[in-house]
């Protein structure tokens, strides 16, 4: 009974790793690498966000805030204070984790629409702070970020970034799958299924909600930090409301409670606007449309629907 879950868990990671390993051979130029790297960064956020939304059943419409905080922490500490990027990154993760922890307790007592509104407000506040703190962040004009370097080795090629983001994504997917298939993961899903029944089983639902909120925030911050060093320039819109909605749309499209679905959702919705530049002015309309169509025609999302369809047709 145990075999199938373990096999499918690592089989999925193997497929993902293979795709990531082979993809560079198929990407014709640096434009495509750029899309792949941005897709990978979004996928890291979405895997974390899906742990919160899809598995634990708690919504967040403000995760771009954590993404931006991770990005700006790296940028500010590295560029304004001359810290080594790796130290800035770690500090950023710690600070965002701490902030998420402090916010989580009052916010996660709310349910449904109220939680959505509260997280929305949280994201907007972060975005306002990034806009206003001109001395630190450069305000709406944005700020440049120096290249990432580890022990003197500077990461400046597109390919190097590709491997860093790809490798990170594989590790994070693996960790997420491990977590889901443990007592902690079952507790999270149980809180989603029936909070009172979870509590009767001895699960401190508040503690687990806070835990996964912090974990998903830290994952978003990690992706944000990579993004900051990769793009070399940050603007507060990275933490804006639309960015949060983009992440949620990716999770919904890929499939709630599906780790690989999140990767696919992030890949599709990162690539799509790049190849439909004609519609650039309507980008947000497109995201809204994708969200609506997914909700109406396949509320479970792409990957779970596909899986259902295959298992139905193979019987």
């Amino acid at each position: 009974m145990k075999k199938p879950t373990v096999v499918s868990r690592y089989a999925g990671v193997f497929v993902l790793a293979t795709v990531i390993a082979v993809l560079p051979l198929l990407l014709p130029n640096s434009f495509y690498f750029d899309v792949a790297i941005n897709g990978g960064i979004a996928a890291i956020v979405c895997v974390g966000l899906n742990l919160l939304i899809g598995y634990a059943g708690q919504i967040s419409l403000g995760h771009a805030g954590f993404f931006a905080l991770g990005a700006y922490s790296s940028a500010i500490l590295t560029d304004n204070y001359g810290w080594p990027p790796i130290a800035s990154l770690s500090t950023g993760l710690f600070v965002v984790g701490l902030l998420a922890f402090v916010i989580a307790r009052p916010i996660l007592r709310l349910k449904g629409h109220y939680l959505a509104m509260a997280t929305l407000g949280m994201g907007i506040i972060i975005s306002i702070v990034l806009n206003q703190e001109v001395n630190l962040t450069g305000g709406p004009d944005g700020m440049p970020v120096s290249a990432f370097s580890v022990f003197g080795w500077e990461v400046n090629s597109e390919l190097a970034w590709y491997w860093i983001v790809g490798g990170s994504l594989i590790v994070i997917v693996l960790l997420a799958l491990n977590l889901i298939d443990s007592a902690v993961g079952r507790a999270l899903r149980a809180v989603h299924g029936s909070e009172v029944a979870a509590q009767v089983a001895g699960i401190d639902s508040t503690r687990y909600k806070i835990l996964i909120f912090v974990v998903s925030a830290v994952m978003a911050a990690y992706a944000g930090s990579l993004f900051a060093h990769y793009t070399g320039f940050l603007t507060p819109s990275e933490g804006g409301f639309f960015r949060s909605i983009e992440f949620v749309t990716m999770v919904v499209l890929g499939g709630m409670a599906s780790v690989f679905g999140s990767v696919i959702g992030a890949a599709i919705l990162t690539a799509l606007p790049q190849f439909l530049t004609v519609f650039h002015d309507y980008e947000h309309v497109m995201f809204g449309l994708v969200m609506m169509l997914t909700m109406i025609f396949m509320p479970k999302g792409l990957l779970p629907s596909l899986r259902n369809w295959i298992s139905k047709n193979s019987l």
């Binding site: 298939d181 443990s182 007592a183 009172v196 979870a198 509590q199 009767v200 001895g202 699960i203």
Partner: protein, 253 residues
Amino acid sequence: MSLLEIKGLSKFFGGLHAVQNLEYTVESGKVHSIIGPNGAGKTTLFNIVTGVYPPSSGKAIFEAQDITGLPIHRLASLGLSRSFQNLQVFYNMTVMENVMVGRHRHCQKGFLQSLLHTPSITRSDEEARHQAAELLAWVGLEAYATAHANSLPYGALKRMEIARAMASEPKLLLLDEPAAGLNNKETQEIDELIRQISNRGVTVILVEHDMRLVMGVSDHILVMDHGQKLAEGSAEEIRENPNVIAAYLGSGA
């Protein structure tokens, strides 16, 4: 020996006195039932004992420890578990996982270990899976282990909830209308399960409307009416108690 003692317990919802100054003792190792007309306060009593809400006054003492107002999740580790009148199933999980959640308090829960899936997590999971499989076989659901909970019929989910509650290895199990909505054959299966739970040394408190089930399995019956104790005693005593007959059949004016 008394396992659970209810002392002077009251619960008011606005002007409604759902439970009034109730005294009740639950003896270890027996099957206790609570009966009474709709609105008598049975489920309210259940919800107070299991921490769903605090009483307006009074105490619940479990194994000499005051559990009044403890958060729900603390009660599992003391040895208290329950099933629900309206199903509370984790529909987003498989049947096996539902029962494994019941074993939560016995599982390894280290966060970093879980992320890395260390051997200790694998061992603990393996043990939980093994125990859950035994419980599923016991309630006759072993064939459904890998099925999603939302694909199971109502009667099967009722039994799955009992397996999940037993997975925490409780000392006291509260069953809230386990036979509600079940046909005769399914009720018979619940009857048999309750006897087996009792044989395993677990004390049972049963809230149930099916009188045949109650009269058959109970060592002790508490009759409630309007939030108060109307009578208590063995099945025979209750059956012949004039107050109970009056409450159930009407006093004949």
